[in-house]
Symmetry: C2
Subunit: 159 residues, 2 copies
DNA sequence: TATTCACTGGGCAATATGACCAGTGGAGTG
DNA sequence: CACTCCACTGGTCATATTGCCCAGTGAATA
């Protein structure tokens, strides 16, 4: 579950040059190929590395508008609302949270006008009491993991 | 920029079995290898596929707690706050938004107690006026892209 | 009609892969 | 101390895949 320095270097290398192969990695890291292979297998069976799915940019797909919606749910309607939201392709992720809202989801849309359609579809469901939406303007820090991996590797090595 | 049905199938296949090769994809899709290769190249230079970075699970790394923080920023301090947040490894992403808050970020922490440390570090910066945090309990819909890709491919094909 | 373009189906050398193996060194245990 | 376990090394092997090339086909377009 904890990762050491070599694991960290493997992940960072992989994050920076995803198309790199095991052999090339072993060359760069200065370890035997079998070692990298074994580490990778372990990281994947550990669940540290979930997979290598393609990162698709919704904007390039024609969905340049991103928004976060906070939803308030009628008591007991949680499961139904989840099932409902799961059927909406523009809902990219959904979380249940503490705080004033009950759920929080990430939405994309083709335009600001289209966002209205998406929101209507999202909230057009009985169990949802209220929704408040924040439209994303800029994304100064895109989803990233490298700094955290380096942190985790440092922690494991005892600073 | 728009993708057709074959592009969609390529992306979906790749998302489901990331380790699959070009040759195997061409077999599954019933097209020539060169076609798949050309499509992939195009998708990547288009920016539709950003890359194939490893998906790392913060929980498996020892950071099982996720939270979303909404930040209010002092006028004109935006750039400084961004730079500050970019230095915090536990900040996985950061957006500037419309609405009551000015920014929204995704945080992870080693525990609820540790989350306090992270939040202190995040808001321990002059330009931040107020922060309100929602801790994630469940994640009924993990970050996904397949339904949107299928939608986009359908749209392109004219339903 | 002529041109362009994507796709096909094939072939090529170079490379990476998964699977092995014996040997080494360190950590921890009895 | 001797022993066992375990990860790593450095090597081999057959097989599969890659990147690159080519000529030919068919559809859409000018």
């Amino acid at each position: 579950m904890a990762i050491d320095h070599l694991d960290g270097r493997i992940i960072v290398l992989l994050a920076r040059e995803p198309r790199i192969g095991v052999l090339e990695m072993s060359r760069r890291l200065g370890v035997a190929r079998g070692t990298v292979q074994a580490r990778l297998d372990r990281l994947q069976s550990n669940g540290v590395i979930r997979g290598f799915g393609p990162e698709v940019d919704p904007a390039a797909l024609g969905y340049p508008v991103t928004a976060f919606a906070t939803l308030q749910i009628r008591q007991g309607q949680g499961p139904d609302v989840r099932a409902h939201l799961a059927t909406v392709p523009e809902v990219l992720e959904l979380h249940t949270t503490t705080g004033t809202g009950d759920m929080m989801c990430r939405l994309v849309a083709r335009s600001n006008a289209d966002l209205q359609r998406v929101i209507d579809r999202v909230v057009g469901f009985d169990g949802i009491v209220r929704a408040s939406t924040a439209i994303v303007m800029e994304n100064p820090v895109p989803l990233r993991i490298i700094p955290l991996v380096e942190q985790a590797a440092r922690d494991r090595d005892g600073e």
